[in-house]
Amino acid sequence: MHIVFFSTSNVFRAEEILTDAKIECKIVPTPVTDKAYCGVCIETEDQNAKDLMEDMEYEIVD
C-alpha cells in the first residue's frame, strides 16, 4: 500500500517513525490519483503502518 501525504516533510517524518518501529518501508513517487498529493510517498506492506501516523494528514492508496 501507499501512504500519501500533503506535506513532503511528513513523508520523512513517517519514514522516521516507521523505521524506529522497525516497519519496512520505502519512499517512492506518489501514484497518480485525482488529488494532487506531494511528489513522494511511503510504500509499505505492513498494515499496522497507518496506525502510527499520529496527527499527520494522509490517505491510503492501494
Binding site: 500533503f6 513532503t8 516533510s9 494532487a36 511528489g39
Partner: protein, 375 residues
Amino acid sequence: MIYFDNAATTKYKPEAVYEAANFYLREVGVSPGRGSYGIGIEASRMLYKSRCAVGKYFGMSRPDKVVFTKNSTEAINLFFNGFLKKGDHVVISCYEHNAVLRPIQKLKEQGIIEYSIIQREDLGLSAEDLFEKYSQENTRLLSMTLASNLTGRIVFREDVFEVFHEKGITTFVDSSQGAGKIRLSMKDMKIDFLAFTGHKDLMAIPGVGGLCCESLEHFNPLVQGGTGIHGEEYTNPDIFPEGYEAGTLNMPAIWSMHASIDYLTEHFDEIASREKYLMQYLLDGLKGIDSVTVYDEDNARVATCSINVGGISSDKLVALLDKNGVCVRGGIHCAIIAHEAIGTVSTGTVRLSLNYMNTEQEIDTVLDILRNVGE
C-alpha cells in the same frame, strides 16, 4: 588579522561546516521537495533531518515545525506580516535590532498595529510589573531579542515570557544574537515562535535562517510561488512547512547548519566556557583603561561588548583598528532604538564581538592599541 566582528558573522567555522556545504554541492546538488528520483528523495530527507536538528536544538515539542528562510530578517518579516492583524498591539524591547523594529514600524505606519517599547530602565522590573505597565487589552504579541547585538546584554527573560504567555499573549524571540551561546527550550520557556539565523553564532555558512513554530497558531506566508506540492493551486497551499517556503531553498547552507548544530551540541559547554573567559579577560582589560567607556558593563552578556574611547570618534577608532589588522564594527549597528536607549545615537559605538576561536594574545593586542589611543 584579528577578527572581532563575530556578532555580524562568524568568519571562521568548524571544519565540519565547510565539509557539509561542500558535500551537498558536490555529492547531492539537487533541490529537495521537487524530483521524486533517488537523489531528489535524499535531498528531501536531508532537509527533514536539518529541520529536526534545528527543532531539537531549540527544545521544540515537535522538532520538524521549522520553516527555513534565507536569514532571521526574512523569518521575522514572515512572522510579523503573516501573524499580526489590524488592531493588534505589540510589545518589544528597547534593544531590538532593526530587523524587528522596521517591520513593526512599517505595520504601524500602514495603520495595522500599534506597539510599545519596554524602556531600558524598566527591564529590571518584575515580570508582573512589566505586564501591567506595557500590555493593553489588544496586546497580541511580545517580541524580545535574546541578546543585544549592540552591547551583548542578554535581554530575553524566561519569567517575562511565562507571565505574558499565561495571560494569553503570543511570545516571540529573535535569537540572532545568542542562539549558539544560550541554551533555550521553546517548550519549557514558553516561547511560541523563534527566529534564527545560521551565519552568526550557529556558525553555518550564510544564507540560511528560519522560524521555529512551537505554537500551531496559523499565519500567512510571505512569499507566493512554487512549493513542490499542490502545483494545481493558484496560490500557496495552506500546508506546513512547504506553504511558507516558496522557491528553491539554500540546501548547501541548510546542510552546513545541520553540521554546525551537531558541532555546537557536542561542544556547547566548552565553547560557552571559553567565550565567557575571553569576554571577562577583555572586560577586565578595558576596565584598566581610563578613557574607555563600556556600555551595559554590569549586565549578563554574550561575548559582545560596545565601547567608546575618549578623544577619538567611533569611526576613527574603527579605521585605526583596521589599520592595525583588527576587524570591529562601528556606527549604529542596525540597532537605532538600542543606541537611543544607551544614549549613543550621536557618537555611535565600537563593537567588539568574540568567539571561542579568539585568543588572549589577540585581546592583548587590541587593548594595547586602545591604551595608546587613550594616551
